[in-house]
Symmetry: C2
Subunit: 217 residues, 2 copies
Amino acid sequence: MHPIRNNTMSHIELNDKKIQILNVAERLFSEKGFEGTSIRDISKEAKINIAMVSYYFGSKERLLEALIFHKTVDLKLQLENLLQEDIEPLEKVNKLIEIYINRICLNKGIYRVLHFELYNKKREKSLQAFTELKKGNLKSVESIIKQGQAQGVFRKDVNIQLITPTIIGTFFHFHMNRSFFEEIFDLKTEEMFNNYIKNDLTKHIQQTIKALLVYEN
Amino acid sequence: MHPIRNNTMSHIELNDKKIQILNVAERLFSEKGFEGTSIRDISKEAKINIAMVSYYFGSKERLLEALIFHKTVDLKLQLENLLQEDIEPLEKVNKLIEIYINRICLNKGIYRVLHFELYNKKREKSLQAFTELKKGNLKSVESIIKQGQAQGVFRKDVNIQLITPTIIGTFFHFHMNRSFFEEIFDLKTEEMFNNYIKNDLTKHIQQTIKALLVYEN
DNA sequence: GTTTAAATTAAACAAGTGTTTAATTTTGCA
DNA sequence: TGCAAAATTAAACACTTGTTTAATTTAAAC
């Protein structure tokens, strides 16, 4: 019997072979884009028959949906845990930044795909699930900032909703122009690049957000 | 005789029909991606024969190169002019931010394409021209910041090379997640969206960079 | 008006696309 | 061991892709 019965991703259990397909798809989608990657590319690298993608996921489009779902479920949880921690507001914001950078680093591929493919209005279904995720994340960020404002540590005339764009946008722009920054910072190896993110870039973003939140004019 | 003789874009003069093709290509590439847009799509919308793209530009790949060249030549000049203006450092930075946002807004399409397609290592030729542009821009930004530092207005422990990523990255992330922000800010029309960018988003970025540059801890 | 080059066209090309089919192999359970 | 469900396969499907060809129309120069 065909394993695809309905169109809700959550009902599809993930066996090893499916996860293998998802991992290959993530890498290829991120390297060559959704349209630029063929099912034949995926099946060749994942060492499976081309029919298996349709068999398991229904279609290439649904494969993308499954991929997004599979890779974004646990960020929400991570933020909600941070919210409960009993630490200083500024430290909480710094941890928030680290969580964002770390998560996107871990799932580079899928976040690239998300940005590229979901901009296209056609993929509304995948988009909506992602929008819900972002709304939840925004709520967590809002709570953290408001905690700091209530304690009088953070100024109140900041546009809270635009803080996430500054954090993620800075990081993304850096990543998108990777070869440029590799050149001007002379980051010759993968390790050097990752270290630059972990130290300098993270520090820059934390410094920026701190200045924005505590600076009095 | 075939009009394509060599592979340097600068030698190809742009008549009306070519520019028409470039404009359509820009819109479609930005809407559907490079791979997602077919020459037939372009020729249908531009109301030309499919063979004309190859005839004028040589190939789809070279069309992209021509497009990038055509749309990015004058930003450099704009920044160099700003550098010469005799105004306060902070005002200069604010103008810098406005220039960036305005330019990217005007050429939404091509900057989207640049981010998406140039990440792919294959397009090295187009990428290199763009890298040179970015280097020039970075030099202009560096000069502006250093002017402010010399005057004692800006602090000196900021990572100058990472300021552009924060400016452009914030803006881009906002744009990439357009439908999300339309929803949470209730921006129902194109005009409302553009106004939000012009007022609130620009202000947020200026506020952020100002805080980063003048905040003392 | 004739000639020559450029512009434009429809058609064909080979290659690649996502998906389906029908047959075969493997698996898990009675 | 036997059997039914699931997994896997090669092949075919209809369609789209970027590019080229060869023929025709347009434009300009003499």
